[in-house]
Symmetry: C2
Subunit: 437 residues, 2 copies
């Protein structure tokens, strides 16, 4: 008999958890579509040359190989490790078939071959949102992705979410105003990025050693990195810094304009966090990171930012863009563990039609079909044992209503609130609802 | 610059096609959930030992290997090539956590490393539906999967679908009544399975050569294989055959009982096709195959049947089941090509809110938010060029309504029917609808 083990790093939900995952995907999708973002899906697989095109091939990558391929056949395909590289390849490849600005969302699994750790997976769902343009991309696009992202996170039902924003222009403006060279500024970004993990003291020490800064400048940088203000206080805070530097001023003006474009409900969970860096990647303007307010220690559940060019590896066309991504599998695993989310009852119906004898099954099927036609998902019990056993099945699955079919008509019993009504009466008093949708 | 090519066998839709795919997945999902089928999802990956457990490892399999793994590390993981093996492993692994009968649907991609051909893909979506039981599985379950499957296919919007059914018991009963040995009956099944491809003459010849049958018996088998009757004529046809054999009689009784359990709307597209075999696999009772009525030459778009034991490789528990699968990618590619499906307009909204100047953007955002709050997806134009350019964008994307925001209020223009109304009036006369959902 084959051994059955969970493959480490490849999460697998039970049906009640999968129902919740589906519900959350549907919520995010619905918000993103309501803003006009289009769905795309790319293959799980890209050419290794595509996946490696931003430099050398990453060791976290899974390559594919036909089991029966001959020994000397090189692997050519790999599983994508994020949705950004496939998106860039997609846009470059279909450039003439897409309309710009191209607003897309994409919810798919990605794979990484690294060692699994708590909260890190080898297979995981990402939910990406981007706008790219063939011309200049206005700040309205930054505001729109931030708006849709924040609205979606607020509707997932995992409690309060904090959305931190920052600006690469602000950061570079601050560093340049302090006299840092380009190389020093880059080194400083890497060090400041670790402030939540290693603390202010160590950041100062590393800024001195790794970025060759003097202790006064290092101290100043850490002071800036400690700034965290609500959206409503951003303007006065920035003014109070009294930094005169063109890049800083541009960044400050942009971030205020960005906030001005957000409705109050979206501004509420947003704070400007000057320590936010998000790696050295390709971000050039707004950067964003979201966390669970009550569980800040679990870290980022999503983020992204503004970039100068999506597909420089694949196209001569410059494609500025802005995108935010939700780490869905990570978010779910954290939320289930913390009790922020509960697995749903393992059912997609709230109505069980019982069957007293097999002679009656066709009639029971008809009754169930009538429920469905009225938008009430309904299941028919698969055998016809004593009613007690059928009700027990409903109880176990968390199905609230049980229908009894007889010659004199249909009655519906609420097995939670212990009452029973003729079908017509029940239909008149009970809202149509489906636990699975 | 990296080369951009479609990887052969890995289909990729444009947004308008992906919208259709999403709509079809939602339709099938909704039908299946309305019957109480639970969603599950398994990793893309299984242990190679799991994938190979039904015999030797299939050469159509993709194995995974970390790009930077050392040379002597053996691949342990592979991409699943269907959803049946992962489902069997899932049920066996979570046996104590699931409630039985376990009714599940599963819509995921599967991968096969074989040479791509027209209508065959290396990456494709399957949409599977199964019921498994820890005890005996009654015919009501065969009827239920057939019912949900037929209802779903009827709602996809690809025209009329023909659902052929047959029974392994009928077939074996017929063969045994003709005096075939077990080995001859198996050989005959393999030959008869090819009747649509090679024709009756060649089937007779092969039955004589491969199954060692005399020409009279071979002729009789082909006569039976030509039988195709509508559900309403099954009873009289079976009676007219006058075959006295216990297995045939059991099969005949079961198939009539099965049809009796189906509502008239589901019976309509069903025909009994005695040539239907569906390979030699593990089917033991009902077998099913669906095709597009107007495009019979494209072959199966889905099928399945009754099996004796789902997870014999993984569990000592006997799990009889019945399942039907829709080959979604194949169905879509055929339907797009035949013009049965049209790509949707590349938009998820039917309302574009225009922006006359950047000063007005916040107000335009508010107007769009109000539309969304009323269930009307709405997009705001990302810049503020002349109105003509914004309307052109709406036209290109297939957006029917354009909103103009001014100090005196909001007006909505129908750019298809060329009329313009104040917002209130428009809301009163236009149904709320979203093209993307």
């Amino acid at each position: 008999m084959a051994k059955l083990t969970n493959i480490s790093g490849f999460p697998e939900w039970l049906p009640g958890e999968k129902i919740v995952e589906n519900r959350i995907i549907a919520v995010i999708r619905s918000v993103y579509e309501s803003y006009g973002f289009l769905p795309i899906e790319t293959p799980a697989v890209e050419l290794l040359s595509t996946l490696g095109s931003k430099g050398v091939i990453d060791k976290e990558l899974y390559a594919l190989r036909r089991v029966q391929a001959s020994e000397d056949q090189e692997a050519e395909l790999g599983l994508h490790f994020d949705l950004t590289v496939p998106f860039a390849r997609y846009v470059a490849q279909h450039l003439s078939e897409l309309q710009f600005p191209f607003k897309r969302y994409q919810v798919q699994k990605a794979w990484r071959g690294d060692r699994p750790q708590k909260g890190r997976f080898r297979e995981f769902y990402q939910f990406d949102l981007d706008i790219v343009s063939r011309e200049e991309l206005p700040l309205s696009c930054d505001a729109e992705v931030l708006c849709a992202f924040t609205e979606a996170l607020g509707q997932i039902g995992v409690g309060e979410v904090c959305v931190k924003i920052n600006s690469r222009k602000l950061l570079r403006g601050i560093y340049e105003s302090l006299g840092l060279s380009d190389a020093q500024a880059r080194a400083a970004l890497i060090v400041v990025d670790k402030i939540d993990k290693i603390g202010a003291e160590k950041v100062i020490a590393e800024l001195i050693s790794a970025a060759s800064l003097d202790s006064v400048v290092a101290g100043r940088i850490v002071e800036f990195a400690k700034i965290r203000v609500a959206a409503s206080d951003v303007a006065s805070m920035l003014k109070g810094l009294e930094i005169k530097h063109p890049l800083f001023e541009q960044g400050a003006q942009e971030i205020q304009e960005l906030l001005r474009l957000l409705p109050a409900s979206v501004q509420k969970p947003i704070e400007l966090d000057v320590s936010l860096v998000r790696g050295l990647d390709y971000y050039t303007g707004m950067i964003v990171e979201a966390a669970l307010t009550k569980f800040p220690h679990v870290g980022s559940i999503g983020g992204g930012g503004r970039y100068e060019n999506l597909a420089s590896e694949f196209s001569a066309q410059k494609l500025p863009g802005v995108g935010l991504s939700i780490g869905l599998t990570r978010l779910l695993s954290v939320a289930f563990e913390a009790g922020l989310l509960q697995a749903a009852a393992p059912t997609t119906v709230n109505m069980l039609v019982t069957v007293l004898s097999e002679d009656q099954r066709s009639r029971a099927n008809e009754v169930a079909a009538e429920f469905r036609a009225q938008g009430i998902p309904a299941e028919v019990y698969f055998k016809s044992p004593k009613l007690g056993k059928q009700i027990e099945y409903a109880e176990k699955k968390g199905i609230q209503f049980v229908a009894f079919v007889s010659d004199s008509g249909v009655e519906v019993k609420d097995i939670v609130n212990k009452n029973q009504k003729p079908l017509k009466e029940w239909l008149a008093t009970n809202p149509v609802r489906s636990p699975g949708s």
